[in-house]
């Protein structure tokens, strides 16, 4: 693997290998007092975040640090990015400074792919930590890791993705990744929050959450992305919560074994009722914990799996 830019195009073997590595790392670290592996000693990982993020940035930082990489965080506000420097120049600068891996989050779809294009002649690996409305592949990997942990194989499992599919990079990455692992995905949203051509996606489409919940093995609630909204996608937050929010009554429609995921940050009371978010079958904190291991696995495969200088 040269870069991780998208879940689309990853084959089942690669995904399984990444998930197995993440699982192995998790077991290795379990119960250790000092959570530090020497795997990436001497390697430099730079995160560049052009959008606010707490969990993803922290998760990548921990992933790097737990494997002894030097991790540097650049945020768009406090750097030359704020002075109007282009993404291309920032990329070339970070490469010249000696980065082995650049992890980028950017509001423009395709930004990670462009970055990889500009760095094609360098050995730098690029990881997409979320590009606009396009993809967020490590989120899909951590979701798959969490589901696999609870449900076992995803073959034939029915997974619902509910909410703002149109603006969601999490949804796009998950559709590719989960269907690649054999899951049957149903997306549930009002028509205004579904992309054009959804009928060509490998999913079933529904506008009625209550009809879908009883047959799901897992339901993934999406964040409503107010910052990408240009008005009028639904009449009000109240009506959205009534129509598509995961209330306690709705959560009760799920089969007993079913689990609930949310990529965060959650809007309690809108997408998901507060008690549902804190229920035992809601795996939000498991997702966060698995996120670190999955990102460790990604960094491992990009930086250490072949030609590693230190082990």
């Amino acid at each position: 693997m040269r870069h991780l830019l998208a879940a689309e195009g990853l084959d089942r073997d690669t995904i399984t290998e990444l998930l197995d590595t993440a699982d192995g790392l998790k077991q290795t670290l379990l119960g250790r007092e000092v959570r530090k592996l020497p795997t990436l000693r001497g390697r430099t990982v730079i995160t560049v975040f052009y959008e606010n993020s707490t969990r993803t940035r922290v998760s990548f930082e921990l992933a790097g640090k737990w494997m002894s990489a030097d991790v540097i965080n650049v945020s768009a506000g406090g750097s030359s990015v704020g002075k109007g420097e282009s993404l291309r120049d920032t990329a070339l600068t970070l490469t010249a400074a000696g980065a082995d891996c650049v992890i980028i989050r950017h509001p423009a779809s395709g930004a990670a792919q462009r970055l990889a294009h500009w760095l094609a002649d360098s050995p730098v690996a690029v990881v997409n930590a979320g590009d606009g409305m396009h993809e967020h592949p490590t989120q899909a990997l951590l979701d798959a890791a969490t589901l696999r942990e609870k449900l076992g194989s995803l073959d034939g499992r029915r997974i619902g993705i509910v909410g703002d599919v149109l603006h969601s990079r999490v949804a796009r990455s998950n559709v590719h990744l989960l269907t690649c692992l054999g899951a049957e995905v149903t997306v549930v949203a009002p028509p205004t929050l579904l992309p054009q051509g959804i009928e060509t996606w490998p999913v079933t489409v529904s506008h009625e959450i209550d009809a879908e919940l009883p047959s799901l093995d897992a339901v993934m609630m999406l964040r409503v992305q107010a910052e990408r909204m240009h008005g009028g996608f639904f009449p009000s937050a109240r009506e959205y919560a009534i129509g598509y929010g995961l209330s306690e009554a709705r959560a009760a429609l799920l089969p007993e074994h079913a689990v609930i995921l949310h990529p965060g940050p959650m809007l309690r009371g809108m997408e998901i009722a507060s008690r549902v978010a804190d229920a035992p079958n809601a795996l939000v904190t498991d997702q966060v914990a698995n996120g670190v291991h999955v990102r460790m696995a990604v960094l491992y495969h990009l930086l250490a799996s072949e030609g590693a200088e230190s082990a």
């Binding site: 282009s86 779809s109 054009q196």
Partner: protein, 435 residues
């Protein structure tokens, strides 16, 4: 350099409109002096051995961006004129979205004079419809029409005249000026933040959609308004199948509407967005293969009247960036003929005589240019383009006369090439060189 302005030019062995036996065409004193099977070169004449190449009336482009004033780092009237001459053009219309905007007599006269100074192609400034292109208040259309630039086409291109009342008034008012309003049809409320044609490709790539309906709804509205105002309307860069349907309907009911299609909308589709390379970003966006097919058929049929380039130079930093940050637009003047040959002539949709219609005669009629798009006959203006239909060449943006190099056709091998362009009897471009 010798003064060639009055030098006769003898074209040996041309096939007019690609038809019939080769003949010789002598241009002297700005007009076609003689057409005969074998003309003896007059003293001092420049002789061009055409060897059976296709002779067409000089091309007329209703839609170019010459970027002067304001962005002379990407194109000037002079460099754009050179690109036009090399592309076989003898007249171009320079859009008004310069900085400052061409919404007054001073700016349009500046562009007009710069065109005359370059002397390679007739540069006709397009005047803005509204002050500052802001869509709120009519610009002084009459003053621009009466100026030395004699403006006869008005457009807010780049932006849509979206207010229906302003559009109605512009159409009505232009009637007295003998002018045409050229509309960039894009309902702004339907394209907030839009990045790519709204369809499966944009949805997959996570690019905000630019629905076909944003174009079609404005075209339909304006055809109705033009009919009501008994005014002339021209639709810029038609890009969707639905627009073709609306145009067909409007023309059948007698509306005075004309329309242009760009070479890139004839050839390229949103499949190219895969790489997120903004060289493919353009307004209106590249549409689907089905749209491109419909546009080719509509051009052949005449529902779409002509080809216009929407030549849009942009600086490298405005194109070699992330998709969302990039400016829309692509170079077109030096590739237009080849793209038309590739998409229309080779598949048999147009003959070379039809190419004369869609690249010269119809645009000249739409803009009411008396001395362009004329027949190739004795006594007519010698504004002519010689095309080698058998040529094949590889596109290199850096080799274009434009300052900018943003071509989506980089590295592509294309058929047919302009070998010589004459403007009123004077050679302006020959074998890839400007005169």
């Amino acid at each position: 350099m010798p003064d060639r302005s009055s030098q006769p030019v003898l074209l040996k062995g041309v096939r007019r409109y690609g038809e019939g036996e080769p003949v010789d065409v002598l241009a002297a004193d700005g007009v076609i002096a003689e057409i005969a099977p074998d003309i003896t070169p007059p003293d001092g004449a420049e002789v061009i051995d055409a060897d059976g190449q296709v002779l067409l009336p000089g091309f007329v482009d209703l839609h170019t961006h010459l970027r002067e004033p304001g962005r002379e780092d990407t194109e000037t009237v002079a460099t754009g004129s050179a690109a036009a001459a090399l592309g076989g053009y003898t007249a171009v219309f320079a859009m008004a979205n310069t900085d400052p905007v061409a919404d007054n007599a001073v700016i349009v006269e500046h562009v007009h004079r710069a065109g005359q100074a370059a002397g390679l192609v007739d540069v006709h400034p397009v005047g803005a419809v509204t002050v500052g292109l802001n869509g709120e208040k009519l610009a002084e259309l009459g003053t621009m029409a009466e100026s030395a630039a004699r403006v006869r086409m008005f457009s807010d291109d780049g932006l849509c005249v979206h207010d229906p009342l302003i559009m109605r008034r512009a159409l009505e008012y232009s009637r007295a000026l003998g002018a045409v309003i050229a509309q960039h049809a894009e309902e702004p409320r339907l394209t907030v933040g839009a990045q790519a044609h709204e369809g499966t490709q944009a949805a997959r790539l996570g690019l905000s959609g630019w629905p076909a309906s944003a174009e079609e709804s404005i075209v339909a509205r304006d055809c109705i308004l033009a009919a009501h105002a008994a005014a002339r309307l021209h639709i810029c860069h038609v890009s969707t199948s639905g627009t073709v349907d609306v145009l067909r309907w409007a023309k059948e009911r007698g509306t005075q509407v004309s329309a242009e299609v760009t070479p890139h909308h004839l050839l390229l589709t949103d499949d190219r967005l895969e790489t997120y390379d903004p060289v493919n970003k353009v307004n209106p966006p590249l549409r689907t293969g089905a749209d491109a097919k419909t546009l080719r058929e509509a051009l052949a049929e005449g529902v779409v009247d002509c080809v216009a380039t929407d030549h849009a130079p942009h600086a490298e930093q405005d194109k070699d960036c992330e998709w969302q940050a990039a400016r829309p637009g692509m170079l077109g003047l030096q590739t237009a003929l080849s793209i038309v040959a590739e998409t229309m002539v080779r598949p048999g949709l147009l003959t070379w005589r039809d190419v004369a219609r869609v690249m010269s005669e119809r645009p000249a009629e739409i803009a009411r240019l008396a001395d362009q798009g004329r027949p190739i006959a004795e006594g007519e203006p010698a504004s002519l383009t010689l095309v080698d239909p058998e040529a094949r060449w590889t596109v290199r943006g850096a080799e274009f006369a434009s300052i900018a190099a943003n071509t989506p056709y980089e590295g592509m091998e294309l058929p047919a090439r302009v070998t010589t362009t004459l403007l009123r009897g004077r050679v302006t471009a020959r074998d890839g060189r400007i005169r």
